[in-house]
Amino acid sequence: MRVLSVAGGVAWRSLHNVFTNPSLLIPQLAFPLFFFTAFAGGLSGIRNVPGFDYPPGYTAFQFVFVLCQSAAFGGVFTGFGIARDFETGFVRRLLLAARKRTGIILGYGIAALVRWLVTATFLTAVAFAVGMNVGGGGVDLPALYLLAALVNIAAGLWACGVAMRLRTMQAFPVMQMPVFLALFFAPVYVPLHLLTGWIHAVAYVNPLTRVLEAGRSFAAGSPTEVGVAFAAAAGLAVLFTLWALRGLRSAEAAG
């Protein structure tokens, strides 16, 4: 109960900050939309590449990537907020006041998830408005969003762990760059089988590749690699939960 009350307070404050501050809210909504426009619009000719076979079309193919990207960066943006809270001294006061400090991490995690749900709703509405086709039904599409939510949680916990350790806004690139690389070393523009050379080797072992491939299969209505994808995403979430908890201990030790 104590954990939940701390988490509720942290989440409410974090969400209040985001949704009452246009300079935080607008980029969160605009950037995924911009990437969706640039990739789905500018690169739609890729559907004519020999070997590219994705029945719902290139817009849906890119929608899945941008949805996962928005989930990951939604988590990272929350990490930015934690670092900012450290610099202003808010987290230190919170560490003194909170009875159950794990509630702090839970609260930031809830805030990251709610932030992303708003972005995902907006992105989905725009995607359908511009005529995106999906083959998936009542189970496939919720599964796609559940998979992306796991990515959001994992990325949020990663950024939280970094923020708890470094406790400065100068840590932004440390939070952002690995997530950026993990996303772009996956099959972003074409399916895995059309990648060649070193990028194929890297993408093959990248856990986010499984997430993307399964997500695209959900959107197409023919799920594949579902178990592996959920195991990869859940595994990352568990791993980064431990990372964030150790980070919390580090912040506590630093005083």
Partner: protein, 257 residues
Amino acid sequence: MSNLPDEVYALARRSVVRTSRMPAQWIAPLIFPTMLLAVNSGGLKAVTHLPGFPTTSYVAFALAVPFIQGALFATMNAGTELARDIQTGFLNRLALTPLRSAALLAGHLGGVVALGFVQACFYLAVGLVVGVRPAAGVAGVVVLLVFAALIALAFGALGTWAALRTGSGESVQSLFPVFFVFLFLSSMAIPRNLIQQTWFRDVATANPVSYLLECVRSLIITGWNGEALGLGFGIVFAMGVAALALSAHALPRRLAR
């Protein structure tokens, strides 16, 4: 009283030294565009199989992008450095000296152009290492480096104008997403004639960044293309003149004596 070249040299040297002492200012413009080049050239290699694609090497096609992306960083760096000078009062102290306004602009932008030139050499070296051979030959490489320096000058002048107008590093930084939108809504990833969405092709055609990219790309892929070179140099010249005029107009207000 010192003469104009001495004043320009002193300020350009200060700009270069200051940048070299802040690794974040020069490492990011070198590494980030190179990383994006690696990712995109790996991920989009299959695009070269599209009928009508101008080359079989996507790296050669994409090598133009870092030149423009590097210029965006030049804009940010130029603007942020000048904004810091405004915020710390350095510009006010300069106003107490007989320094000419033209020397301030030229010296400041001299440092930006120097960094832009180093960036261009680095991107070119990366391209050569991964097997790209510029179709326009050695003379083409010289033209490419001159063009890169002009792009850095034009974009740097834009950043300078933003800094003079706002006097805030954060405001200058907030321009970055705007420039990024221009980059992504261009012929950055695929030639304009192969863009299938009509509205996107129209936006890319109206976007001046497409012509800057195509100017660099022509020297690397096709050789000497008068139209691409004319459009590229024309646009960068017009941008540079406009941005310098705006900066020169904004400077006296900041440098109140």
